[in-house]
Symmetry: C2
Subunit: 436 residues, 2 copies
Amino acid sequence: MRRTAEVLAAELARIGMEHVELIEVALPGGQTGHPLVLADWLHAPGKPTVLCYGHYDVQPPDPLDEWHTPPFEPSERDGNLYARGAVDDKGQMYMHVKALESLFAAGGGQLPLNVRVLLEGEEEVGGESIAAFLRSHPEKVEADFALVSDTEMFAPDLPTLCVGLRGMIYTEVEVRGARTDLHSGMYGGAAPNPFFALAQIIAQLKDQDGRILIPGIYDGLQAPSTDELAAWARLPFDEVHYLATEIGATSLVGEPGYSVMERTWARPTLEIHGMPGGFIGAGAKTVIPARATAKLSMRLVPPMEPMTTFARLKEYIESLTPKGVSVEVRLIHAGEAAVIGTDNPYIQAAVAALKQIWQVEPVFVRSGGSIPVVGDFERCLGIPSVMMGFGLPDDNLHAPNEKFNIRNFHLGIETLIVFFEALGAEHNAAGFGVAG
Amino acid sequence: MRRTAEVLAAELARIGMEHVELIEVALPGGQTGHPLVLADWLHAPGKPTVLCYGHYDVQPPDPLDEWHTPPFEPSERDGNLYARGAVDDKGQMYMHVKALESLFAAGGGQLPLNVRVLLEGEEEVGGESIAAFLRSHPEKVEADFALVSDTEMFAPDLPTLCVGLRGMIYTEVEVRGARTDLHSGMYGGAAPNPFFALAQIIAQLKDQDGRILIPGIYDGLQAPSTDELAAWARLPFDEVHYLATEIGATSLVGEPGYSVMERTWARPTLEIHGMPGGFIGAGAKTVIPARATAKLSMRLVPPMEPMTTFARLKEYIESLTPKGVSVEVRLIHAGEAAVIGTDNPYIQAAVAALKQIWQVEPVFVRSGGSIPVVGDFERCLGIPSVMMGFGLPDDNLHAPNEKFNIRNFHLGIETLIVFFEALGAEHNAAGFGVAG
């Protein structure tokens, strides 16, 4: 992680960025996480300031045996670059670096606008360092808007701006039965089985249709506007094609009465990611494990508040605790949902740049994923985010064989160059605010 | 495994056993498993022949971090030897070797009865090699009875003969959803989650009280006799103490209306041992896994037939398959239940030997565990088994910190010496059968 941060710092210095530093944030408990990479170039007086955000951490690569080429040896095939982090978010983050490099070169060492770069190494694990840094040192990242390229396009060749993100809570539900692992022959029929208890609990968290059964969980949810729903209905989306190409299951699931877009962008969901405990090797071990855990997360939509949601989940799970076991529900990390207005000048400039390079009218979508830092930019810095990403729906984010389309990488860089140039050139006319 | 088999073969040859050989059994599919160790000493004409059985394979040692000393470095503490296999079954198997060594030494190279030794390395994984060998070469292990020391005493200082074993089926239930792992932010609300499907299935296999819901599963079960139930009721058993010392959970579970002995010895049970799939590392990975599996076993009681039971389980699970996923139920291994009569002369001689050494009237119990080879001895060789073991209920079989009480090890050897001597001396008077 540190080597990656150092490489990025060196790259930023090489292209012309200034005040490049690695920042280790002291976290509660006296530990430090992975370093933030901070840099700036602020010699465009009267021009707006962009805060370029990206993250250099990635998801774990397992299951390793499903990768066609090693996850940490980038491999080019069929116009794509395959590697863990290719699109999420190393590759997209690197588009910012290359766009700035090009602008420095074209401008004789000058940029058309003021730029700050802030990169983190903990996006996939809760982003504790960047959240603490934004709270304690907002003056070091003062800007007019943030640029976040950690989202995807709705379809190939369809430029897309993301204006809504789900929040999340990631938890562990640990069930404890006997004091130690027991032989299922000797004790089966008398000793509680934590996996059975977990199955009983989990089966009561959602109904057969996927509707969440936690009391109060749907209270007061903000439905998308009629306009937004109408725009979503016009998106090029074929549910049969989506099922066949992106999901590959026998059928889709989810709450009846909502479209796929509504279910994945504007409704809360609850998923199980893994169930550590007991025996998971090949063959047969007849153990009644002392403990079993479910890794359980929920995606949240406005106005669901992470801590309130966690409290509701925890209380409900505790109320379901079967006989013979105890249950502990732990919060691993949390992030708030965000819905961003489309009427600010930065979003409008992004629309124009996308249209110019891609020659197609861009669309506004939401994402079912979570980028908690977007909420932090809003709360700590008071600035909106432009979420302009160039990933594709079949890029295998968080999965084996993650990839980034190389043409999208190049067009993304061109879009960013045009976007930055326009913001610098049009500043006086458009009346953009000035940082500071 | 092979080194262990070779060590045992060398030990048997050293003490005086003859025709010591390692036997690799050709299995279906052309593979071989772990070698059987076979030896004999057949120079006591007119005397009975004992087939000493044991197994040198052990359960996997994980979770490793719960062992106080390394599982494969035997460690003596407080009168116990701690190691994986200390009691199940390396230590108990070694009692046979030491008893025979003592008898060879005392008899000037002669034993009081005929002895065959048959050791296997696959007891914990289904015993395919020994089952195939018993079917194809019964003449190589012709004997009057088998001696199996792979059971435990009901309580410390209470000599115990086991006369009933549960059968088992060990299965894997694999649920497949999407083609590949998916990001829970992007696809949560649309893609099926195999862990959720498994939880829904498992929660419908037993009710809240632990009663199995598979249709027909309890049809025609043989209840223990009134005498046997009365004897079990007289055993020194304190449910509060059992819960506190052996289980260590908040309460016991299991079918209402049955005692702990009935539930663990004479009723079928169903357990989940582990649920491989998805992400089980530390921290947070937001994956909807393509596949998840439950390792599921059932313990069977007469007259439940393993293949019929598996078919019922499979059919029921398939009928529960939730929307969006497919389910595969695989049989890993199976063994039949066995209930042994107490009226044969070998059991009676074992009772006398136990009483002489331990100075206490022995008890007859069943075991909730499964020793499939006991059924094979009955079916292939037509001989009964004497299940005389010296483990204790808190020996942590199949769990971290497995141990064997060293005093029990020594008294067990003495009991076997007296048992073998009595069988040899009393043969003519008692009218034991002669092998061959």
